[in-house]
Symmetry: C2
Subunit: 261 residues, 2 copies
């Protein structure tokens, strides 16, 4: 059955979206069937994959409210044919407040995914969920639906400070809502080996999470940040750039690590 991976970190701007779309693209180009669920009202993952997400589009919002099935909202990426995306529209911004008083508010995403997997003619190999920078109901839905969490950590001081909070929250979800959820993977992003700060953060992370952090790190590279303005992943925008290479390596390392579990 598919690997369902929530990409989460409540710290903002650490590379959640960039990691989601580029790992997904790398795995899709290797022949895997990959789904990306954009769960962030900003819709950055939808933008990076070139998927329309104006307010009239049916997407993740309708899926959470049970108005549409996941199968009906998935859109295929032009650039990576094995990659499908459930777009985030502006309506998603209201979902957190709307869901608070509703029934089974934490299980909405899980029910939609389980239903999709049960009826899909070709089951996906990977389902990535791009989370917003918070630990509210949208992220809780992702942590309940997923089997594992991938945490991007930017090589900066604040990003390190927030990891304990995230670790505790995943623990709470595991205790009360989804016993399977755990942090399986940490990926260091925007690493700049020329600065002391970046090296110090990397050392800290490797010391505290030796079995979880990938050997591959993603370097800071302007090609990575240029790609979304062309509605492309960096894999599609400049496949020989240091960022594209690093994401392809990280995808392979992640797949191999899982196989050896």
């Amino acid at each position: 059955s598919p690997r369902v991976i929530a990409v989460s970190n409540q710290k903002g701007g650490v590379g959640k979206t960039t990691t989601t779309v580029n790992l997904a693209a790398a795995l899709a180009d290797l022949g895997a069937k990959v789904v990306v669920i954009d769960l962030d009202p900003q819709g950055n993952a939808s933008t990076a994959l070139g998927i329309e997400h104006n307010a009239t589009v049916q997407g993740t919002y309708e899926m959470l409210h049970g108005a549409s099935t996941m199968g009906s909202v998935l859109r295929q990426s032009q650039q990576h044919p094995n990659l499908w995306c459930s777009p985030a529209t502006i309506n998603l911004a209201g979902a957190e407040i709307e869901l608070v008083p509703s029934q089974q508010r934490e299980q909405r995403l899980k029910r939609a995914i389980d239903e999709y997997i049960a009826q899909a003619t070709q089951r996906p190999d990977y389902i990535f969920i791009d989370c917003p920078p918070s630990l509210g109901l949208l992220t809780i839905n992702a942590l309940v639906a997923a089997g594992e969490v991938l945490v991007p950590i930017q090589a900066e001081y604040y990003a390190l400070e927030g990891v304990t909070m995230l670790w505790d929250n995943v623990g709470m979800v595991a205790q009360y809502l989804n016993p399977a959820i755990h942090i399986s993977t940490i990926l260091l992003t925007m690493v700049d080996s020329r600065t002391n700060l970046s090296r110090e953060v990397e050392n800290e992370v490797r010391t505290h999470f030796p079995d979880t952090v990938l050997t591959t790190v993603i370097p800071r590279s302007v090609r990575v940040s240029e790609a979304p303005s062309h509605q492309l992943t960096v894999i599609g925008y400049d496949n020989n750039s240091s960022g594209a290479l690093a994401y392809r390596e990280a995808a392979i390392e992640m797949a191999e690590k899982f196989a050896q579990r």
Copy 2:
């Protein structure tokens, strides 16, 4: 009466906290009395100002629930004696869900600030509110309590894409909850004039928001990102660095612009 400024942008990692603490520090060092309200459960502003914010501390959470007054939770910065901070503790993470069913849920912060201003022996000149990267109830509370919004925009593609969403949200709060709220200031952060992307984003912002964006921009500078690991603002950490200089200039430009209104 004091200028109450919400520093907000739902895009994560654009420099909200860094801008809040460094503008506040620059104004405090010029002799103004400044208050920073840390409204982000991550507590990054509290960290940068060297203010204790473990779970036992009374802070912004207690203030929102009416359990403590603002005057009783404010702590003085060691480094900048004119600067006081209401710390964010981990309890704040639950506040968004807790506040949804409560009375006057959008007015909690405003009531606490108004009460403080009414009874303070020495009124502050500035109150900055550091918002989390979302448009949920915490940020709505800030937009209701404040008289204006300062929007940091990182010189990156996604940061530009999110501005319309923020603009619309501020408009909604102005229509239904706080007629005074408006985006008064845009500050470009992490500008790297060597890259096309950065120059293009700056041009876009200056074209679309000519009267709102400050002339001063904040350059990307590793000294800025090193400062919080020493529990210091960059003004206190390396006052001659390009980042410190830029934040001092931005503070003066903001004060002068307001005076000429």
